[in-house]
């Protein structure tokens, strides 16, 4: 099993979710994160005080899935999340040794 972590632009979440769903990903977990990268932030001024905000709002999607489905899922994410503008985000893939579904205690690929 692999874990895909995708950092995407917030307003792309719905599309990416649908795309993943279409390729058979049945579960995923998302969180609100802040990203620092090439996309530059902005400056906010509050009266005399100026603050540079380097961190931009991003969404992180985590999903664990069988090795066989990884390529398809990555392709789906790219397709849905790409705007071509800087800041579109990254996808990271790493190995997962075991998965358990708490409700049924199923293990492995059956659990994801």
């Amino acid at each position: 099993m692999k874990k895909i972590e995708a950092i995407i632009k917030p307003f792309k979440l719905e599309e990416v979710k649908d795309a993943l769903h279409d390729v058979g990903a049945e579960g995923m977990t998302v969180s609100e994160v802040k990203g620092f990268g090439r996309q530059k932030g902005h400056t906010e001024i509050y009266r005399g005080s100026e603050y540079t905000v380097d961190f931009l709002p991003k969404i992180k999607i985590e999903l664990v899935l069988a090795d066989s489905k990884v390529q398809e899922a990555v392709a789906a994410i790219i397709k849905a999340a790409k705007t071509g503008k800087i800041g579109d985000g990254k996808i990271f893939i790493s190995g997962v040794e075991e998965a358990v579904r708490i409700r049924t205690e199923e293990k492995g690929e059956n659990a994801v």
Binding site: E44, I45, Y46, R47, G48, S49, Y51, V53
Partner: protein, 492 residues
């Protein structure tokens, strides 16, 4: 514990000092007075409508009045005004300020506002009101005992201050001013002063700065009460508190924030407002409440109140627009904080002037109120690097000072007959209006600044010696909400 003890000691001393105050002489047996005749009764009723004095109000009156109590329209207005001024502090000011601090300190602002409300009320009841409005003592300080424990402050008007508003309502109205003034200081020292230190500082500051100053400016025999005191030493005018409220708090705030030093991480960490939305809500409430503050300062629902209402509206709206448009021009973006700051600045600057200037005057004030405090906040503060966290100095001290001065130039007898009333004629104010009044204003401003600055330095070091001013680094880093109050502003 030490801090708490000293606080209670302070309260105890002040209150018990008063128990020594002996009972006043029994009221002299008043000679029997005649009933009013038809003509006099009608005149008394007309006096109600016109906010004038009854025949019986004259010092040597030989008749009584059939309407000797308070009058409904004026009393209603004053009660509502008092409620509005309370609304300015709770929740107005704590939202305006609270929105601007970081999340971890929001409750500390709230607690300080509530704490001040409680503490000042107790002081006011015990002797504060008497100290400010008890006459017959000195031009610089009121009578300590005359109205101590609000003795004799009942529902009948005290005609020194109003013909038709109940004395107790007047005293509560003025209490609301006494509460908000020290609360304004909180803006400068936000996020880094211990709760115990805030309470002790405010307690002392009220006694040393606010009570005397308010007496001098608004007490019927106050040294700087140009409008009402025929023997005023300085013929200055201050309708609703440019000197007493905004300058005193604003200059003290600067001094206190300098003594405290900047917040940990100041200039390095991002200290952006945790909720500009909340700040804007507070601004709206301050604006609405300010009608009680300014129009209410007429202490009657009369034409002067009407004028104050009008000039207040215009100055606030114009200043709000001007401040934001300056940002639009200079930075390309008008900010919400700009609109809010401008509105508050407009309200501050018009405060001493609102009952004395006409509509045109209020437009001028609005434009300058959008400009001058903007410059102070945007350029002066960064230049000098003091950490006036939420710009109490930039808005209230600069604005109050500007307002007090502009009042000297723009006041006109056309909108306020009291500027040429008997006391004003007696002390010479009547001649100064439109003609050098600003020099008198300068004197009052100087006295206010000197008193505020000197007293604040002393009090701050006294407080530092007793309970200390700042929290530990750890507490400040964690946030005062948890450190001082054991609560968090938001959960889940």
């Amino acid at each position: 514990m030490k801090k708490l003890l000293s606080l209670f000691a302070f309260l105890a001393i002040t209150v018990s000092a008063l128990t020594l105050v002996r009972a006043e002489d029994p009221p002299k047996e008043a000679p029997k007075k005649a009933d009013p005749n038809i003509e006099q009764r009608i005149a008394d009723l007309e006096a109600y409508v016109n906010n004038g004095s009854r025949g019986a109000d004259a010092a040597d009156a030989k008749i009584t009045s059939k309407v000797s109590g308070s009058g409904p329209g004026h009393n209603a207005f004053q009660m509502v005004s008092a409620a509005l001024v309370l609304f300015m502090t709770l929740p107005g000011l704590f939202l305006f300020y609270g929105g601007l601090v970081r999340k971890k300190n929001i409750l500390s602002v709230v607690a300080q506002c509530f704490g001040i409300a409680g503490l000042v009320t107790i002081l006011w009841w015990a002797f504060g009101y008497s100290f400010v409005f008890g006459d017959g003592s000195s031009p610089w300080i009121g009578s300590f005992s005359k109205f101590a424990f609000l003795k004799d402050v009942d529902s009948n008007p005290n005609t020194n201050y109003s013909y038709w508003v109940s004395h107790n309502v007047f005293s509560m109205y003025q209490l609301m001013f006494a509460i908000i003034t020290p609360a304004l200081i909180l803006g400068a020292i936000a996020e880094r002063m211990k709760f115990s230190a805030v309470l002790l500082f405010v307690g002392l500051w009220m006694v040393v700065v606010y009570f005397p100053l308010a007496h001098a400016v608004w007490g019927i025999d106050g040294a700087m009460n140009g409008v009402w005191n025929p023997k005023a030493l300085i013929k200055s005018i201050d309708f609703a508190g440019g000197t007493v409220v905004h300058m005193s708090s604003g200059w003290s705030a600067l001094v206190l924030c300098l003594i405290l030093g900047p917040r940990l991480g100041f200039g390095k960490q991002n200290m952006a407002p945790h909720s500009m939305t909340m700040c804007a809500i507070g601004t709206g409430m301050l604006w609405v409440g300010w009608y009680g503050f300014n129009a209410g300062s007429a202490v009657a629902a009369d034409g002067i109140a009407a004028n104050a209402f009008t000039t207040t509206t215009i100055a606030a709206a114009v200043a709000s627009f001007v401040w934001a448009m300056l940002e639009y021009i200079i930075r390309g973006k008008p900010s919400i904080l700009g609109f809010c700051s401008g509105a508050v600045a407009g309200l501050v600057v018009i405060t001493p002037a609102c009952g004395f200037v006409n509509t045109t005057g209020s437009v001028i004030i609005g434009v300058l109120a959008g400009l001058v405090p903007f410059l102070a906040c945007a350029y002066l503060k960064p230049a000098f690097k003091y950490d006036d966290a939420l710009d109490t100095f930039g808005v209230h001290a600069v604005g109050g000072t500007l307002g007090a001065l502009l009042t000297g130039f723009l006041a006109t007898g056309d909108v306020n007959a009291n500027l040429s009333g008997d006391p004003a004629k007696a002390n010479g104010l009547a001649k100064l209006v439109g003609n050098g009044l600003w020099l008198e204003q300068l004197k009052a401003m100087a006295i206010t600044i000197v008193l505020s600055v000197v007293a604040t330095v002393i009090i701050a070091y006294v407080v530092k010696a007793i309970v200390g001013l700042r929290p530990t680094e750890e507490d400040e880093t964690q946030g005062l909400d948890l450190a001082d109050h054991g609560e968090e502003g938001y959960h889940g």
